[in-house]
Amino acid sequence: MFGIFQDDLRKRYDRGQNSALAQLDGIVVPGLILARHIFRGLKRPLYDDGSMEADTQKLVHSWRPNYDFDWLDPFGRPRKLAPVKNCVFVVLITKNERHLDKYPEVFGWIDRWNWVYEDLNLPEAPLNWSSRYEEKIFTRV
């Protein structure tokens, strides 16, 4: 099971980042379990949640969803759109290690979700994945 901090949702809501919330609802929640690939470790320095080596703890899920969503008019409804051409959707997750006492059922925390260009050599993987991530740990066949 994955979780997202309420504070993170609230900040996106307060900023009016409604398209990101529509994508969370329409792509991330129903699609995360269908991820084609999972990568571990970002190849860049990253400090997070008290860890000086948080880059090694990040998990990146990628797949090609059937739809995209945005929400340009806050008085209207989210729009269901065609997926972005030549792109895949990625969700960055922090494995739950520091909050296991309070949330033992949560495997990881959703940090970020967005589109990136697809790597032509590995369908449904982000462009240049081998230089961006430490390793590929799962591929759904």
């Binding site: 809501y13 900023r15 980042q17 529509a22 190849k43 320095p45 997070d48 960055l92 589109w115």
Partner: protein, 132 residues
Amino acid sequence: MNGFVTKMMTQFFSENPPKGFKPCAYYDKHLDCIRVQVKDCSFTEIRLNKIFTIYQANHMKNIDYVGFSIKGIRHLFEKLNFPKAKDQPYILADIIDAIVKDDPEAFSDLIQREFADKLNLEIEDIQYAEAA
């Protein structure tokens, strides 16, 4: 409000009316980066190098880019010996200034690679004394 896939979001927005977007810059603590976003829409993140990523708008006419991020901020602050000011906001221009000064050639290459064809600048025979 309808149009959501999950009960979670349906419930959330039934209690919280959606807000309008305003351009913003903020620190993303989970990914240790500064994010700047000027329009709310779906976008594709394009990684330019280890530090800079730009946001290319999806499904939009006449809009190419809607933001960017600067990654590895805390690491950069230590490397560049950036002054620590816990209770004061940092000025974005100061951060970019420090990054550019740290590695001007990499930054120049980046600009050249990404924007040379779009800027279409013709610079020849500049007389600096006159220009000044």
